[in-house]
């Protein structure tokens, strides 16, 4: 960036330095008080000095709304970037990212996040802590699974997951009520029912933990070693509404197909506390016809109907 930029153009709001071969953006950025849009795509940014030091304290940290760094050489999200608290739109498409830092949750105003065309293998659950996220692009990466926490992104309207390595999705994805667009093509989604036969019986520690939780046995930090107190806090609830049980490490992974009128079957995955437990989406062929089971069937079919619109659109 040319020296003296902020002296000549102190009121600069939009700066487009795309396609200029930039290898770093220096301290000139720090003295631009009104900048809300910075476009620097198709450059050679990605090395250590790409973003200037002290970015978090500059006026830019509050004023910048849109940052486009697509088509550069970033192999990780630069920590300085996470200090841009006012950022609404971030694009790092077509870079060399292998992961998304959990601290991405610092960008709490983020609405638009484009990470397509990288080498990302996993999504941190912390991504779900972005309350305003409406558009999330993760296509053309190497993602093998979606954390169920992603269903907490209540504002999400569009989710792009095409061309990844997904074999199934977490069933919680059906909870995204505002989702209008969902792309899943180019993933090796399982098409046949998969029964996970490797169920490891629970350890004594797990059985004890389950009993404490389900019978509400009272305990205080002074009663147990710290490691066990932590262990007990990690209990997960069995999704079977009739079960009410919990599990720690020992669970059954089950893939259930949610059927969209025989045209599209989406493999959804959830954990159950034991092989005897039944899924919240039990098929009609199973024996029980109790109220709660048919309730969750209705819930599943309503969600499935809505998702059908999304998937076949």
């Amino acid at each position: 960036l040319p020296a003296g930029l902020s002296q000549w153009f102190p009121a600069l709001e939009v700066l487009d330095v795309s396609g200029t071969g930039l290898t770093e953006m220096g301290t000139e950025l720090l003295s631009l008080p009104c900048l809300h849009t910075l476009l620097a795509k198709n450059n050679r940014l990605g090395g250590p000095g790409s973003l200037p030091k002290g970015l978090g304290q500059a006026p830019l940290a509050r004023s910048l709304r849109v940052l486009n760094l697509s088509g550069n050489r970033f192999s990780e999200v630069p920590p300085a970037l996470l200090q841009l608290r006012g950022l609404r739109s971030l694009s790092l498409g077509g870079n060399r990212l292998h992961s998304i830092p959990p601290d991405i949750q610092e960008l709490h105003s983020l609405e638009f996040l484009y990470l397509g065309g990288n080498f990302i293998t996993a999504i941190p659950p912390e991504l779900a802590k972005l309350p305003s996220l409406t558009y999330l692009v993760l296509c053309d990466n190497k993602i093998q699974s979606i954390p169920p926490q992603l269903a907490q992104l209540h504002s999400l309207r569009s989710l792009s997951l095409h061309n990844n390595l997904l074999t199934y999705l977490p069933r919680e994805i059906l909870n995204l009520v505002h989702l209008d667009e969902l792309s899943l093509r180019g993933n090796p989604l399982v098409v046949r029912f998969v029964r996970d036969l490797t169920y490891n019986p629970p350890s004594l520690q797990e059985l004890a933990g389950r009993t404490i939780k389900t019978r509400n046995v009272p305990y205080a930090p002074s009663d147990l070693p710290e490691s066990l107190v932590r262990y007990l806090s990690l209990a997960s609830n069995c999704p079977n509404p009739k079960c009410g049980g919990v599990y720690f490490d020992s669970c059954v992974r089950q893939i259930k197909f949610v059927d969209f009128c025989g045209k599209y079957r989406l493999p959804l995955m959830h954990y159950l506390c034991s092989p005897e437990c039944s899924s919240p989406y039990s098929s009609a062929s199973q024996s029980s016809t109790s109220q709660s089971e048919s309730d969750s069937e209705d819930e599943a079919s309503v969600a499935a109907h809505r998702m059908q619109k999304v998937l076949l659109g």
């Binding site: 694009s91 065309g117 569009s158 599209y264 076949l312």
Partner: protein, 208 residues
């Protein structure tokens, strides 16, 4: 469309001229596919002439009507953000011409699925269309998916459909199952058109 006796070689020097010549061609009883494709390709994309129709949407590609060809054809501009793509679709027995005005679009051709097909659809071929190139497809050629595979550049394309249609089938690549959909315009003649759901009633705005 059948081959006429004489094929003209047109050169459209502007978008306006392209539309005018199209009206002329389609006024005849017989229209040549090659003639229309050559005409579309001859127009050198000039953003100043079509920027008013190029309205992008953050979430998906948009269809913006430019001219309704006196009922003989629809000419529209499609705007594709980074990563935006279409489903696999057919063309309801119509002719489809697609010219790139900006950026690049990848076209993947598919065979029609078997009648009682229940397997993965067969890819026939794929190619990346460059600026000013014009592709042609109809149902006898096959089905296609069109996508902007760039993560850094938006793309804009000019489409001509004859006869016009507003429904088509989309296909699930993994099973070949089809689903009829209705297409809408994001804008018409440069003006944004808001989609009203059939369940809602448009209330008059106060003060107007």
């Amino acid at each position: 469309m059948e081959q006429p006796v004489q094929t003209e070689t047109w050169k459209a020097r502007s978008l306006e001229e392209l539309v005018r010549i199209l009206h002329q061609i389609f006024a005849e009883d017989k229209v040549s596919v090659d003639e229309v494709q050559a005409l579309m390709e001859s127009y050198e994309s000039n953003p100043e002439e079509w920027l008013q129709y190029a309205k992008f949407d953050q979430y998906r590609y948009t269809r913006n009507l430019v001219d309704n060809g006196n009922g003989k054809f629809n000419l529209m501009i499609l705007c594709w953000g980074e990563g935006h793509g279409s489903s696999i679709h057919d063309h309801t027995d119509s002719h489809c011409f697609m010219k790139i005005l900006q950026g690049n679009l990848k076209e993947t051709l598919f065979e029609w699925p078997e009648k009682k097909g229940n397997g993965e659809m067969t890819k026939k071929s794929e190619r990346v269309l460059r600026e000013n190139q014009c592709a042609y497809i109809n149902d006898s050629i096959g089905l296609h998916r069109v996508e902007n595979i760039s993560h850094t550049e938006p793309a804009v394309s000019l489409h001509l459909y004859s006869p016009p249609f507003n429904t088509c089938n989309t296909f699930d690549q993994r099973t070949g199952h089809k689903h009829k959909v209705t297409m809408t315009f994001y804008s018409q003649f440069g003006e944004r058109t808001v989609c009203v759901s059939t369940d809602e009633v448009l209330l008059p705005r106060p003060g107007l």
